[in-house]
């Protein structure tokens, strides 16, 4: 309300009611041209059998791409891989991030130094991360196997990313390693608003660590954690570079998420129409997750107000 009346007043002072439109226009036109139109074109592609070899030829085939996907075991595999990957990322990054944030939320020497070190993986380029992890996990010369071999913990033939039963969990571990710094630092920031007196009072009352966390800390950070969970979900559904550079979706489809599957269909087997159909499914999932999130969040706020 107040921003509304202030805004009108400001516009009057600025002497033009067109000012907001002039400010908004370039950005909006830009997004329409470079996101809106391509998205519409992708929707159009999803009902065609256009090939990468002849991208300008458009041949309407209705929902054939989608019904083919429904009969395609590869597609169901990539739905399953995506579900595991997304769930793993959300649980892993939030769990480890929360744990690290709680540990850093206390006074100790070197605290800001440690916090700086921990943020580094999140700041590094995915290409560099894939490069160094592929080297560290190299079957013969990688430091990981060299360290594990004497302990007898090396996997069969020393394979990690090329091992159908370990590739997904390895990619997940690398993803969590890269992203937990982000969740940790965001949760740490929200821990600053936990009232100190409440924590002390709980301590005096003899509450254990878990009881303190449950009664005092969690209610304060819950909204932040929920938002992070949404963000991690959307980012994981979208993630392409890291997975592509680590495994290209293999071996035997074990890390073939929807986005990887879409790229493979488009650029390896040249079927742009099918690729677009997979893209539509991925988009739909992201949008549904977001709508579900806001529905739950709204109900939670309303319930809070009712109390």
């Amino acid at each position: 309300m107040s921003s509304h009346s202030h805004g009108t007043q400001l516009a009057r002072i600025h002497g033009s009611r067109w000012l907001p439109y002039m400010l908004v226009l370039p950005g909006v036109v830009y997004l329409l041209v470079f996101q809106g139109i391509p998205l519409l074109q992708e929707m159009r592609l999803s009902v065609s059998n256009t090939s990468l070899l002849n991208p300008s030829r458009f041949n309407f085939i209705g929902v054939a791409n989608f019904s083919r996907l429904l009969r395609d075991p590869n597609f169901f595999n990539s739905i399953q891989v995506t579900a595991i990957y997304v769930a793993g990322c959300v649980i892993g990054t939030i769990g480890l991030g929360l744990f690290a944030a709680l540990l850093m939320d206390r006074e100790f020497t070197g605290r800001s130094f440690v916090r700086s070190l921990i943020i580094i993986p999140w700041a590094a380029p995915p290409v560099a991360i894939a490069l160094v992890f592929r080297w560290m996990l190299n079957g013969q010369y990688g430091i990981v196997n060299r360290g594990l071999e004497p302990l007898g913990l090396m996997p069969a033939e020393g394979l990690w990313l090329d091992n159908p039963s370990l590739a997904l969990i390895t990619v997940l571990a690398i993803t969590i390693w890269q992203l937990f710094p982000f969740t940790a630092v965001v949760i740490l920031a929200s821990l600053q608003s936990v009232p100190k007196e409440l924590k002390e009072a709980a301590q005096i009352d003899g509450a254990g660590l878990w009881a303190q966390f449950h009664a005092v800390t969690w209610p304060v950070i819950r909204p932040t954690v929920a938002l992070l969970a949404l963000l991690m979900t959307i980012w994981s559904i979208r993630r392409f570079e890291l997975i592509w550079l680590l495994t290209q979706g293999g071996p035997v489809g074990s890390t073939n998420t929807l986005v990887i599957d879409l790229y493979r269909r488009g650029f390896i087997i040249n079927k742009l129409g099918e690729a677009a159909a997979v893209g539509m499914v991925g988009m739909a999932v992201s949008v549904l997750v977001t709508i579900a999130y806001f529905a739950v969040a709204n109900r939670a706020t309303r319930a809070e107000k009712m109390r």
């Binding site: 805004g7 600025h14 002497g15 139109i37 074109q41 700086s116 559904i237 677009a276 949008v287």
Partner: protein, 276 residues
């Protein structure tokens, strides 16, 4: 030792272990770059960098390709930053300050665009850029990257503008500052930390970007470091020291700038990408 002392010691140990895990791969990239050929495949691996091998970092620049890659990455990243800020500052300002027709719709658009995977738009952007001669050009990559930085940076800046009291602007206007001048001279300086953080985020989006560069650029002289370096992933026939040294040089500016701006970036990212 009491129970609580034990817990806080254990916590300290765990936190340093986590920090160690976080930086080990970067340390290892550096160690590998400075390992001599003789030690590389020796029975027991060399665990510390050898300073006598630091010359590798000069050596990699003697090859033209590496310099070209880094220069290309820089141009693409800088272009993405400038274009993003030029579009996001007015958009974020309008969102924070004015009511306008279609505001809710544009807001939803900004949220939805954050869910679009780059991989989904690679094909249609390719077909739009092709007839316009934007493939194999810096401009094409800058235009594509900006489409993905604009939504999140707009929210970060909107949130920053929200924190500036409107009275400051009104006073400036009464003092004779007109229209857009009030924004540029009075409001922007107040939110400079957020603008700088946005610039860093946009810059490194352009610096790190891989899919568009991989698909749109076929001309070797225009390849950025992300694509150039990715060509060596999983390869051990090329001297691994050189590859890792390039990896270090490519990673360093990203990490250094992030560390400088970390406080603003993290709070901005969290607020900007979430509050939509």
């Amino acid at each position: 030792m009491t129970r609580s002392e034990f817990i806080s010691h254990a916590a300290l140990v765990i936190i340093f272990v986590l920090a160690g895990l976080a930086i080990f791969p970067f340390y290892w990239m550096f160690v590998t770059a400075t390992t001599s050929d003789a030690n590389m495949f020796a029975a027991s691996p060399q665990l510390v960098p050898s300073l006598s091998q630091l010359g590798i970092f000069a050596q990699i620049f003697e090859e033209g390709a590496v310099k070209t890659w880094l220069a290309n990455s820089f141009i693409i990243a800088a272009g993405t930053t400038v274009l993003t800020l030029a579009l996001a500052i007015p958009l974020g300002y309008a969102f924070a300050r004015f009511p306008f027709w279609g505001k809710a719709g544009v807001g939803i658009g900004l949220l939805v665009t954050q869910m679009l995977p780059e991989a989904v738009l690679v094909v249609p952007l390719f077909s739009i850029f092709s007839p316009l001669g934007l493939l194999n050009s810096y401009a094409g990559l800058i235009l594509a990257n900006t489409a993905f930085t604009l939504p999140v940076i707009t929210w970060i800046l909107k949130n920053a503008f929200d924190t500036v009291p409107v009275e400051i602007e009104e006073a400036a206007v009464l003092d004779g500052c007109t229209g857009i001048n009030a924004l540029v001279r009075v409001v922007l300086p107040v939110i400079m930390p957020s603008v700088a953080a946005s610039a860093v985020i946009a810059f490194f989006h352009g610096w790190n970007e891989y899919v568009f560069a991989l698909t749109f650029i076929t001309n070797d002289t225009l390849k950025p470091a992300s694509v150039g370096l990715a060509g060596f992933i999983g390869e051990i026939s090329t001297p691994i020291q050189s590859v890792m040294a390039v990896g270090v040089v490519y990673t360093l500016p990203a990490v250094a700038l992030y560390l400088l701006m970390q406080r603003f970036i993290v709070s901005g990212m969290a607020a900007g990408s979430v509050k939509g």
